[in-house]
């Protein structure tokens, strides 16, 4: 998977279950055309998907029911086989003595899964009115496709690729080696789940803070003579870019590029927001569409303390002066809402706290609110909405319900 790894995989999965948009379908088509290798990859995933579905299906088929249903629709003159003659489903009654041993493993597998679900239900029943916050892993996909789990509070660990240490992780930080002798671009993909934040220091010393629900793809080592290009595939990131006038640093987000030489800025590209926002803290950045090469004349140059909003659909830009703290506060654990629609606040709360919120009061969706939080728990946040805006909530089955 050479390009936009995780994102493309998501598209393939959406395709397999026919849950994708026309735009996504076209992206997939483009990706397939890019490299003949990709077709092989695509086939493999589709194959696996169909295969697993089939196995599940054979377990689910109720042939007694099917037989009765067929029989009820046959023409009257065909009075065949009485109902009491239950059909033998070959699949279910396959086991003879030796078969029993042979297939015992299957049933252990099934029991294991069954037990798992029972366990789930038990837990939710006991704690009906309490929230249990899920703990999802930060993952790092290496260039060879292997996926490593990053434990922010675990022991320090080294990321090795073919025996060579390329990065060291300690706590909430992943630090790439500057002395890497690589001569070819090789990418890693870091995925930050909901409820977590993380920091990565790239091989040029650039510091990137990643917000919850973000995916960043970047080279293990930037190569001399080639632009420093990274891909924010999803979510929000704050970049503090090391100065290097010879190698512009480019962040690709959706169909937009942000180009800088050395500066600090924030890029936010969450799916619920209609536009990708770039907020410049200091220095200067240029913004241009990724369908063309950088050209000073046609790019938008952003000044410090300004925000550029790139409309994802119309691909046009609007610029306004802002209080940058509102946009970068998340880096220090703050959650700031300024004139944000309630439905988007919900999405951001879900992401920040890794919870599920269901809003049954659709009148609230389009209303805009201001609020700031930092150390509060999700319950405290909800209580504050309740107090200030009279928005009531309940907790049922580990979900927050707003009525």
């Amino acid at each position: 998977m050479k390009q936009n790894g995780t994102y493309i995989l998501k598209l393939i999965l959406a395709y397999a279950s026919q849950e994708l948009s026309e735009k996504e379908f076209n992206e997939l088509k483009q990706w397939l055309n890019d490299d003949p290798e990709n077709t092989k990859l695509f086939s493999d995933y589709l194959y696996l998907y169909k295969k697993s579905r089939r196995i599940r299906f054979t377990e689910n088929v109720d042939s007694t029911k099917a037989w009765n249903s067929i029989k009820s629709k046959l023409h009257q003159d065909s009075n065949i086989v009485p109902v009491s003659d239950a059909p033998k489903s070959k699949l279910r009654f396959l086991s003879n003595v030796s078969g029993f041993i042979k297939y015992a493993a299957v049933f252990i597998g099934i029991l294991g899964i069954g037990y798992f679900f029972m366990n789930q239900h038990k837990t939710t029943a006991v704690t009906k009115n309490q929230l249990i916050i899920g703990d999802d892993n930060i993952t790092l996909e290496l260039e060879n496709g292997n996926v490593k789990v990053i434990q922010p509070n675990g022991a320090q660990q080294s990321i090795n690729i073919s025996g060579k240490v390329v990065a060291e992780q300690s706590g909430n930080k992943l630090n790439y080696e500057k002395e890497n002798s690589a001569e070819k671009l090789a990418y890693n993909i870091l995925t930050i789940p909901n409820g977590k934040k993380f920091q990565v220091i790239l091989s040029d010393g650039t510091e990137v803070y990643l917000n919850s629900g973000s995916v960043l793809k970047y080279p293990v080592k930037f190569i001399t003579g080639i632009n420093r290009q990274v891909y924010l595939l999803e979510g929000e990131a704050y970049f503090d870019v090391t100065k290097d006038a010879k190698h512009p640093f480019i962040v690709n987000v959706d169909n937009m590029n942000v180009r800088v030489l050395g500066t600090e800025f924030n890029v936010s590209a969450y799916p619920e927001d209609p536009s990708i926002s770039t907020v410049l803290v200091e220095g200067s950045v240029s913004i241009f569409g990724n369908d063309k090469k950088y050209d000073k004349a046609t790019s938008l140059e952003l000044k410090p303390r300004f925000k550029a909003s790139w409309n994802k659909i119309k691909t046009n830009i609007s610029v306004e002066e802002v209080d940058t703290d509102i946009y970068t506060g998340w880096k220090n654990g703050k959650l700031i809402f300024k004139n944000i629609q309630f439905k988007n606040i919900i999405k951001k709360l879900e992401r920040h706290y890794n919870v599920t919120i269901i809003n049954n009061n659709s009148k609230l969706d389009e209303k805009n609110y201001d609020a700031t939080f930092d150390v509060e728990t999700i319950e405290e946040v909800l209580n504050s909405f309740n107090k200030n805006y009279e928005i009531a909530y309940t907790i049922e089955n580990n979900k927050i319900i707003i009525n």
């Binding site: 997939l28 397939l32 194959y47 629709k73 065909s78 086989v81 699949l91 597998g109 599920t356």
Partner: protein
């Protein structure tokens, strides 16, 4: 299968209706599995096959057949599934679908084979990280949509997608072995 087909046809042609039950026992599951390959819907697959069985009896189609029934039934299932699909599918990469379906086609029909594969796959699913396993089971095994799975597991749709990608990535490593064995 051929010999069984001939016996069934003999029974049907002399009006021995137990032949129809034999036909059902022999072909219902393999045909449904075959249909699923194309339509990816448990319900549709069974509906298509049941319709064909009903038609086979009601219109006495067995009278036209001589040596075999299987090829006729499989072809009918494929045609009917595909024509149903045309109405419902929005996006399709025809070539890739064909290629993948061909790969699957060549190893079906044998129930023992499915059991063996099932065993292998379960072992691998069991070995997945907890969250990925949970999501993989919900989506692939329990047939939930992303949104439903997200609700059931109390996480966001994005989290579901990420775990699902991770699960598939991990299973893919063993997939190569499966394919290799099948082609060998």
């Amino acid at each position: 299968m051929r010999l069984k087909d001939i016996k069934i046809l003999e029974k049907l042609k002399i009006g021995d209706q137990s032949g129809y039950k034999d036909l059902f026992d022999l072909y219902y599951i393999p045909l449904s599995v075959y249909s699923l390959k194309y339509c990816d819907s448990f319900d549709q697959a069974e509906d298509v096959v049941q319709e064909i069985f009903i038609k086979f009896w009601n219109e006495k189609l067995y009278l036209k057949l001589n040596n075999s029934i299987g090829p006729y039934l499989f072809k009918a299932v494929k045609n009917n599934t595909l024509s149903l699909l045309k109405k419902n599918t929005k996006y399709c990469f025809v070539q890739i679908e064909d290629q993948v379906n061909k790969l699957i086609e060549d190893e079906v029909e044998d129930i023992e084979n499915i059991e063996e594969e099932k065993r292998k796959l379960y072992q691998k699913i069991e070995a997945l990280p907890e969250k990925s396993k949970e999501v993989f089971i919900a989506i692939v095994m329990d047939n939930l949509k992303y949104k439903e799975a997200a609700e059931q597991l109390g996480v966001s749709v994005n989290t579901i997608k990420t775990h699902y990608s991770n699960a598939l990535k991990q299973l893919r490593k063993s997939l190569d072995i499966i394919i290799f064995l099948l082609l060998a």
